[in-house]
Amino acid sequence: MGKKAVMAGTGVVMLLFLVVHMLGNLKIFFGPENFNAYAAWLRTIGEPVLHESWYLWIQRTGLLACVVLHGVAAYQLSRRDLAARPAKYVHKQSRASYATRTMRWGGVIVGLFIVWHILDLTTLTVNPRGQAGHPYENVVADFRVWWVDVVYIVAILALGLHIRHGFWSAAQTLGAVNKRRDRALKTTATVLAAVLTAGFLVVPVAVMSGLVD
């Protein structure tokens, strides 16, 4: 049960990051100067107490720890869960929702996407433009490539489903659910998943439609 608490805790931290990340992304609609200045400002958080980019590295370390702990706990718990049900029923009947059934593989998809996403827009290794200090131009160059859009959209949809089930699950694991709050928490999970999915998807859609260029 301790591992489940780790899943829930790290999940909530990553979810908070995603909300801020999505809001930051939306600054792209205010034009290149605004967006690039915001990206540059991120490197100055904590100054003058912290040196340049220190805060960013602290956050990156924390998030990396979260991803690793979340993944390792998921792997260990899944192995135990699968071992606890060795024989399947001959008469199959799955009633769990799509979001619930896709938690494991959806999580793997999101994990692989994170690796590609960092190589693409942080290290700029696989970015078609890859000019440091010009995130706006890099993002636009990215989403003009059709398969980048496909990868991104699939990953974000997987992420939305993951949050839809994950947020409420975390609430359940951390003991925040009771009969009175159950419905409200489920609604929150759905709204959160929908808002994050829409917030992340609006950027490639805007580039594809020429709204952002």
Partner: protein, 246 residues
């Protein structure tokens, strides 16, 4: 009603087992599911075959002894126990699949009978209150708020049939364990052992080879006594509280 039954037959725990097809005829829609199996077994005995082994006791839906998976659902299509499920829930000519509970912690003993003593070991780890027994205590000696009494009773309804484990894709016993913990932890009589109860029972549950909860909600849907899914959250709350207090 005339029905085709496909029933799991397995001679011994070591036997591989397989689904075997039987026909039953002239079944009354007012029979319970177990009575229908009785009819089948009488025919099997008359024709010199081994009857289908299945657990049952009170046949009133209160003991928790019976329980089979019917068409992929623990206790079948109605929210009740297999003994209180009536054949009117099926249609004439139906093919019905009958399988034992499936979980690593519930090994098949024979046919539809599984060994559920893993539940007993979870109970032994803390599903009790340590009080001196003897003459009945004065009813007003320990005041229990109405809300707590209702909450305790809601969870005390669990009959330990194992449908939650059977329905769970992870073979998890968290709904069962949460019912037992919440039942006692909310009452003043259970308060002295509140922390050790949850820690020991959860440890026993994990030790018996049950899986963990992935919040699919199958358990609460299958539970014939309506133990709700938030009960697992309440157990998690108790568990985290006990960890902090230790």
């Amino acid at each position: 009603m005339n029905l085709t039954l496909r029933i799991w037959r397995q001679h011994s725990p070591e036997d591989k087992g397989a689904m075997v097809t039987y026909r039953v005829e002239d079944i009354s829609p007012d029979m319970s599911f177990l009575e229908m199996l009785d009819v089948l077994n009488e025919e099997l005995i008359l024709s010199g075959e081994e009857p289908v082994a299945f657990d049952h006791d009170c046949r009133e839906g209160i003991c928790g002894a019976c329980g089979v998976v019917i068409n992929g659902q623990a206790h079948g299509p109605e929210r009740t126990t297999a003994c209180q499920l009536h054949m009117r829930s099926f249609k004439d000519g139906d093919t019905i699949d009958v399988e034992p509970w499936r979980a690593a912690a519930f090994p098949v003993v024979r046919d539809l009978v599984v060994d559920r003593s893993a539940f007993d070991r979870v109970i032994q780890a803390g599903g009790y209150v340590s009080v001196p027994t003897g003459s009945a205590p004065e009813a007003h000696a320990t005041a229990v708020p109405k809300e707590s009494a209702d909450y305790a009773f809601e969870h005390a309804e669990c009959i330990g049939c194992g449908a939650c484990v059977a329905a769970c894709p992870n073979g998890s016993a968290m709904l069962f364990t949460s019912a037992k913990i919440n039942h006692l932890n909310v009452l003043p009589q259970g308060a002295p052992e509140r922390e050790t109860r949850v820690l020991n029972m959860v440890a026993a549950m994990d030790g018996q080879g049950f899986g963990g909860c992935t919040n699919t909600g199958e358990c609460a849907t299958a539970c014939p006594k309506g133990i709700p899914l938030p009960s697992i959250a309440a157990m998690n709350r108790e568990y985290l509280r006990a960890l902090r207090k230790r």
